[in-house]
Subunit: 181 residues, 2 copies
DNA sequence: TGAAGCATGTAATTTGTTACATGATTGG
DNA sequence: CCAATCATGTAACAAATTACATGCTTCA
């Protein structure tokens, strides 16, 4: 079983399955919102990548015997190890933005035109995040829940806070460009 | 000549060639720093993608007859049109972050561990950007230059300013997490 | 003068994306 | 009960990443 280097996509799947077993479809749903904003995975990948990971022994696979014969995956010990290793190690880092609006601006597009499209989108995203944050914090405020909340839940909230900061920055930035005369 | 949908990578190449003709290797160099931080292109792509674009008539290709027989590409009228269209249209937008540190945090890694790696990297990036900004602004301050500066130069500066804002935000964010007890 | 490291490409492999299909549910 | 839409998956295609090669400079 040749050890390939796992991709971020692999770890996303491992991480999501570390919370609970599920079908590729469920994973796709869990990955919707928030996570997709900073590392999107197309739905077909949940099928191909789970299969690969299962073949490598990092996931176990169980197929319904009747009906739709859905496959449910669960993380194995080996999978947990791989995930934990990656989370703990301080290896290759990478930060990249992939923002089509910014790219257009960079390449010489008219700032006001782009801003007109970007500003409302970022405002909306910011509002969405703030709403999410409110409800998440209410939940965690209930101490009985926060006591058992897995690391990843805390992590998701932190990432959300980061997202809010960046969205504020985006709103600031594109606002300034909208007003350009 | 079937019209495929061009990718951001295609437009990056078109945009860089819109400034001046060049070999794939030169393009790679132009794309280093700044641009790569928000849309990275691996060096092999500069070879394969220029070839595709040339085949589609968006670039013209000229090969040295002696020596290393390097290929120099230039943007064609058709290419300029394609670029301008894309820059002017307000189509599909996409914003994605692709930040391995944030992803680890999201998936449950220990915040302080990640912060210890991220914070210095972002501080360094911020310093680099600020330095770049200073020299760019000095250049543009010379009015004879700024008068002829192409749109893309202005755009690059704006994108740089955006980058600075985000790096500040990153520094703020990871600083807070480093202090966590 | 030889090693290191840029410059320059191509090929192989892996990933990611798009397209296609079809069964199940549910609101109207 | 029918049209959306959600759920579920596979297959084909395109793009990106990694590996492999090798000629040129340059500096110790």
């Amino acid at each position: 079983m040749a050890k390939r280097r796992l991709t971020p996509t692999s770890y996303i799947i491992l991480g999501l399955l570390d919370l609970a077993p599920g079908t590729p479809y469920e994973l796709k749903s869990r990955a919707a919102s928030t996570l997709r904003d900073f590392w999107s995975v197309k739905h077909a990948q949940f099928y191909t990548e789970t299969e690969r990971l299962a073949k490598e022994g990092l996931l176990s696979e169980e197929r319904e015997s009747e009906g739709r014969r859905r496959k449910t995956y669960a993380i194995t010990e080996e999978g947990k190890e791989a995930l934990a290793d990656w989370l703990a190690t301080t290896g290759r880092r990478e930060v990249e933005v992939r923002d089509t609006g910014m790219l257009k601006l960079f390449l010489g597009a008219d700032p006001a035109t782009i801003a007109a499209q970007e500003l409302p989108a970022h405002r909306a995203k910011l509002a969405e995040y703030e709403e999410l944050e409110r409800s998440a914090e209410q939940m965690l405020a209930v101490s009985s829940i926060s006591a058992v909340a897995p690391k990843a839940v805390r992590g998701a909230l932190l990432a959300l806070k980061a997202g809010i900061g960046h969205e504020r920055e985006y709103v600031r930035f594109w606002s300034a460009l909208s007003e350009e005369r």
